[in-house]
Subunit: 423 residues, 2 copies
């Protein structure tokens, strides 16, 4: 018959399996991040190419496409290595569905490139197509962040996901600005879009700052070149304030592209550091958990069996405990035992219960940021559907309501969803 | 190289594995529920026995202990059947830790019974000891509810968990009331405890009503005998309003016990129905998912490959989509495709993405009720630690603050935790 110790060992093995899966996922996140980076650059160059009616940037674009093809092959190899045979429980269904989606996008990529080659698609259409594929790749990272059961790992994944998402908004800004400059004149719609992208970017970077550790935060602060930032802000001002239809200097498109690219390349360095930290944290935790596992396995259930079986109930029998202690999963871990010098299995069981409880509490806090994101998105979707608004118009409406009422965006989203449930 | 279809198949297999694990867990939940029921009765009889100084109820108690021993053996056999060898990811670590805890409690049970036999423990001490063991068993059910990824299953598990928890508070009420009557006089402390248990019970039953389906709700409404309810309320009034130290009719202890037991036995019927529904829902979902899986496997990736690869990007290229579409995981599912008559793999991928999205949204709603519970408990824990309060005093303080401020309990808990984070 299986003893408490058997289950303690099994619990520890599950923890290790979970961490190992996360380590594998971070490798996947790393390659996905590189492909995102490459596609962001390809998107920018495609915009320059389309904006110049195919007269410029053809060579740089072709080189970038070659680079992307190589990373794509790496990513596909990574997908191939994933264990899809053993039925893994948990978030496997969601992760694999995301990957299926990405693979279909990658299959369609050559046809997209042909449309751009032949100037059959507008810059806006091409941008939207790349945005969609990159969103699919980022969804893989989001899924990993949402499924991690270790709070420290989850915290790093939330920081990484938001940083990558912020970088993607920066990449979209580069593409939209490139197309605007290259076309030679301002259009109000694209200018509005640019402002929206800058704001979204800053929102993501704030969440990143909140969840990343001090070292990565410092790396990001240091890596931003003041001169490049000033130049970027100057060009943002030109793009943002030009009257609808006013002329823009087409020669500036390359300058804008380089300026944005310099910043985005810095972001890639920070992203790599985050991905590296993630893998390191996973490995450290695997080592620690394996050490615990060995210690558990070395215990002999028969010799360490409680001399005093009643110790399980001991502090239950003190007057301090109250009926509320019946709240399961929370009241369960007992107070520390100071009476026995030898570590008993019961102590280990209780220590483990306490540890899992603390981890669960921390995890709830980290997950809250992911849930806020989901709430805002559901409220946005509701507005789009009920009032036939575009995604941007729906977001603007939410934001305006929040500002008018002095509430947080997530609070407005929650109010709106509650109201919809009632109606 | 693996295709999108391969990952679609893998995702479906994960879904099935998850459902199968849930079906196994519901079997575990069922036996745990029966042991909880038996131990609740053993606790009540032990209270009657201790309250009468061992002069009465010895035989009924001995019979009940025999019955509990049999169910315990069944539960241990159930634990033995759990697959602890293959490293299952997800909530395995938490579930197994809970089981390790329960096994230690069961190992200590014979020693507890000896203490009661010899009248060495007070009724209060004995009650607290049983409360602790039952809390451990209920924690296994809570863990299952918290880890289910299917919203319908999760909804049923939340209903079941809250019903079982409500039943446990009813069981504690029976035990405390039995001891009070049997002792022959009222004590203010135990009377206060009784009121707290009645209130906690009603709170749990409200959540149950919110999450259970109409049929089970009706079963619960019908199964409550009006005459028994009236009798229970009459005896509750006597217990609740007697002055501290006033005499109680010891002869009423058996009447109280029977009246409470009748209600608790009705609850067991409802609980069994919920457990039965849970298993049926799991099985239906496994059947449906297996049918999907077969359909996917019958598809041939080469013949069904998109004639028009660009359809992946098609609606991305319509002006309706906006930069916000880059929000990954949410903007990803595309609008329906009406143009192709044949179902393509891409459509399947997108359908699956939409389905998982809807399921995720529903799941968030269901989980919110579990999270409220966690929040309240964390706030309670904080008060206990910082102000050295008992669990009940901490809960009373939270409740009083909520009433004074006209807020929900969970809102007060959240405010308190936010404030603690800031300080």
């Amino acid at each position: 018959m299986k003893s408490g110790l058997n289950f303690l060992v099994a619990a520890k093995r599950c923890e290790i399996a979970e961490l190992q899966q996360l380590a594998l996922t971070s490798a996947l996140v790393n390659v996905s991040g590189r492909l995102v980076h490459g596609l962001q650059r390809e998107r920018g160059l495609s915009n320059l190419y389309l904006g110049s009616q195919g007269t410029r940037f053809a060579k740089a674009r072709a080189q970038q496409i070659d680079e992307c093809r190589q990373i794509e092959a790496e990513l596909r190899a990574c997908f191939d290595k994933l264990d899809t045979e053993s039925d893994r429980v948990g978030h496997g269904a969601r992760l694999f569905s995301r990957i299926a989606y990405v693979l279909h996008g990658l299959d369609a990529l050559p046809a997209l490139r042909q449309q751009i080659d032949a100037l059959r698609w507008t810059a806006r259409q091409a941008t939207d197509a790349y945005v969609r594929l990159i969103a699919g790749l980022l969804a893989v990272v989001f899924e990993a962040a949402d499924s991690a059961c270790d709070p420290e790992v989850s915290r790093l994944l939330v920081a990484l996901f938001n940083f990558m998402q912020g970088k993607e908004f920066a990449g979209q800004e580069r593409a939209v600005g490139s197309a605007l400059f290259a076309s030679g004149h301002a259009t109000a719609g694209e200018q509005q879009r640019l402002l929206h992208l800058i704001e979204s970017q800053e929102r993501c970077l704030q969440v990143f700052a909140e969840f990343s550790n001090a070292q990565v935060g410092a790396l990001w602060a240091q890596s931003q070149d003041r001169a490049t930032l000033a130049e970027l802000e100057r060009m943002r001002r030109i793009l943002g304030t030009a009257a609808d239809g006013a002329a823009l200097d087409a020669g500036q498109s390359q300058v804008w592209f380089n300026c944005c690219s310099q910043r985005i390349d810095c972001m890639k360095v920070v992203e790599d550091q985050l991905a590296h930290d993630l893998l390191r944290v996973c490995e450290e935790k695997i080592t620690a958990a394996s050490r615990d596992l060995q210690a558990y396995q070395a215990l002999d259930a028969t010799t360490t069996r409680e001399a005093d079986a009643l110790s399980f109930f001991r502090d239950a029998a003190t007057p301090a405990s109250a009926p509320g202690a019946a709240t399961p999963g929370f009241g369960v871990p007992a107070q520390g035992y100071g009476l026995q010098l030898e570590r008993s299995i019961l102590e280990l069981v209780q220590e483990q219960a306490r540890r899992l409880q603390t981890m669960g509490d921390e995890l709830d806090t980290v997950r809250a940021s992911l849930n806020e994101r989901k709430l805002i998105d559901r409220a946005k979707g509701l507005l789009m559907q009920r009032q036939a608004l575009s995604e941007q118009a729906a977001y603007d409406k939410l934001r305006k309501t929040a500002m008018d009422k002095g509430l947080k965006l997530v609070e407005v989203a929650q109010l709106m969803l509650d109201a919809a449930d009632l109606l």
